[in-house]
């Protein structure tokens, strides 16, 4: 399939399918878990998980996010800014920044744990990601979100092209530092299956215009058990396809996560 077909199909799907529901949704009223949608976390609510980024509702329209654990070696922060609704669509922009140099230098080492050869020095690098999110609620139990974003990388020196980490999930996310900019788009579906069981499906596409290894695709299927608005846990898998320096390869990776939420401020 041509690379652009995924995106085209997603956009068409979102726009053509008729709207069936308007107004506030049970999915949202339950205490929406903001990840993957244009809805911000409710003001004063803190969500955090093992792998998912922590999110805190600064106001009704602003959400602060960060990946907590990687912060030690990869300082990162993001802001989701809800711009309200346009017709049936809720839309927001997300702006994030991350500094991976300490983490990459940590794994550029001899012996076990050396993901990058110690012969390479990683220069100071910074990436800025800006993304637009458009969410549409189809019925009380289905949210669909279209994402489109651009990442721009800045560096203080040349990064040796042999220093890539040719692993699924990692390679597409770090490729921007070898290419200056990348485009990322995707489509999320999330909703309830029955009772406390929810699903989250996401398609993500990465494009690096001009690069030899310029495309990656990730499909996530996640089954969640939501005990209440303050706790959910789930498992699933991520199917990835990417162009690597050695060629292309598919991977299927099991994923799991547990998330908690606290209402810090009323």
């Amino acid at each position: 399939m041509k690379k652009t077909n995924f995106l085209t199909a997603g956009i068409l799907f979102l726009l053509i399918t008729p709207c069936t529901v308007t107004g506030q949704l049970p999915e949202i009223e339950d205490g929406i878990w903001s990840s993957g949608t244009a809805f911000p976390v409710q003001a004063g609510r803190l969500e955090f998980g093992i792998f998912m980024p922590a999110a805190y509702g600064l106001s009704e329209s602003l959400e602060l996010t960060t990946h907590l654990l990687p912060n030690i070696y990869m300082p990162n922060a993001g802001l989701k800014w809800s711009h309200g609704s346009v017709g049936p669509y809720q839309w927001a922009t997300r702006h994030s920044i991350y500094y991976p140099t300490p983490l990459l230098n940590l794994v550029a080492k001899e012996g076990i744990g050396g993901l990058i050869s110690p012969e390479f020095t990683i220069p100071d690098m910074l990436a800025v990601h800006n993304e637009m999110m458009l969410t549409r609620a189809w019925d009380p139990h289905l949210l669909t979100t279209l994402k489109l974003g651009v990442t721009v990388a800045f560096g203080s020196g040349d990064l040796d092209p042999r220093s890539t980490i040719d692993l699924p999930l990692v390679f597409p996310r770090l490729s921007v530092f070898y290419n200056t900019y990348s485009i990322r788009t995707g489509l999320n579906f999330q909703g309830r299956i029955f009772f406390r069981w929810h699903y989250h499906m996401a398609t993500d596409l990465f494009f690096l215009p001009g690069a030899e290894e310029g495309f990656a695709f990730e499909q996530t299927a996640f089954l969640l058990w939501r005990k209440n608005p303050r706790f959910q846990s789930g498992f699933g898998c991520k199917l990835t396809y990417a162009e690597y320096p050695f060629g292309t390869q598919w991977h299927l990776i099991p994923v799991f996560d547990t998330q908690w939420a606290l209402q810090i401020k009323k």
């Binding site: 050396g114 050869s117 040719d166 299956i193 299927a221 089954l223 898998c237 050695f246 598919w250």
Partner: protein, 363 residues
């Protein structure tokens, strides 16, 4: 849109993902059973002779196209990931030497086909396309999607046999793993093997070429087991009435070798003096005796013992001369007398020197 609420939809997705999973490659290829080797063909094949009286057979550990670059794993170097230019330059040296010697069959060790350390160059295909050899068989020794150590990353290194005549059968026979490693290290470590191929040599119906690269750094009896299994494979061919040429980097010195201990000069500055991996052969005096006794060596043992230095094929000493003989060729037929050469002049190409010899085709 109801379909997204339906659990059947999720089940279907899960099933599809499971099916795709079955097509996924394992993280580490473990090669527990005997299996077919991977076959290659040159982009343009050259018609081989339809009858021959002698063949030139060559054996070479080409060090994955690293030439004499001080790679961290086998010398006191600090290099890990070579540039494409470095690898191609070294491969050109290797191909030039092969084209100069003009072997009909070549047994190779340490050939990379998809390794990050050697710029992901498919060295099998490259060598076939840049020599007069037409057909190749490849058996991975180290096939890992990602080695999380020293920045090695993806690795696919193996044994290979290249021939001017078609390869009609190619089998990878697994050898036992090192017994002196912990489970985690062993999981990501090399899976040694014997590569046995049947070659469609004119007028010789049962002709085989066999190569092996035995354990280099084991401190237990793993290397002896590899040598014994290699000999057992040759014995089976011999008993079946087949002809063979066989060899490889056996990682031990010949019986009667004057020097069997190299740990002092081979010690790297930051290495533990008690770490005697791959340099102490003092307990291996008899390990190759069976091969020498039962088969013809390209370099007869008397010749070797009379002038050992002339036949040395290996050195990890980048500034010095060849240090010891580790590479061998054997047959159950006859080599043409005095036709052997140990190409010590090829010192820029690898840490091993190639050995070549003429083989008498049974009439």
């Amino acid at each position: 849109m109801m379909v997204f609420k339906n659990y059947r939809f999720m089940l279907l997705v899960c099933m599809l993902l499971c099916i795709l999973c079955m097509h996924c490659e394992p993280w580490v290829e473990e090669f527990e059973e005997t299996e077919d080797a991977v076959l290659f063909t040159a982009a343009q094949t050259l018609a081989p002779p339809s009858s021959v009286n002698t063949l030139t057979v060559m054996d070479w550990n080409i060090r994955f196209g690293a030439g004499r670059i001080p790679w961290f794993g086998d010398s006191c170097g600090d290099r890990v990931i070579l540039t494409e230019e470095e690898v191609l330059t070294n491969l050109r040296l290797v191909a030039d030497k092969i084209n100069e010697i003009q072997p009909d069959i070549i047994l190779l060790n340490e050939v990379d086909i998809e390794s990050k350390r050697s710029a992901y160059i498919d060295q099998m295909q490259w060598l076939l396309d840049n020599t007069r050899l037409n057909y190749g068989a490849y058996a991975s020794v180290w096939q890992v999607q990602f080695i999380p150590s020293d920045g090695l990353g993806r690795m696919n290194m193996g044994n290979a046999i290249l021939s001017r005549w078609p390869i009609t059968e190619a089998i990878r026979i697994p050898l036992p793993p090192r017994g002196d490693q912990d489970e985690l290290t062993r999981y990501f470590y090399l899976r040694r093997n014997i590569l046995k191929v049947k070659i469609d040599l004119p007028n010789v119906p049962d002709f085989y070429a066999v190569t092996v690269h035995t354990s280099a750094f084991s401190r237990d009896d793993t290397r002896k087991k590899h040598i014994d299994l290699f000999k057992a494979e040759l014995d089976a061919l011999d008993e079946a009435g087949a002809w063979f040429v066989a060899g490889g980097d056996l990682n031990t010195v010949p019986p009667g070798a004057a020097r069997r201990y190299f740990c002092i000069e081979n010690l790297c500055p930051d290495e533990d003096p008690d770490d005697k991996e791959g340099c102490d052969f003092t307990k291996e005096e008899t390990w190759l005796e069976g091969l020498y006794e039962d088969y013809q060596s390209a370099v007869p043992i008397d010749n070797y013992l009379a002038a050992e230095e002339m036949y040395f094929t290996n050195t990890p000493d980048w500034g010095g001369f060849w240090q010891k003989k580790l590479d061998y060729l054997f047959t159950n037929n006859q080599w043409v007398a005095d036709s052997d050469s140990t190409h010590q002049e090829a010192i820029e190409c690898s840490d091993h020197a190639p050995v070549s010899v003429r083989w008498e085709v049974p009439q």
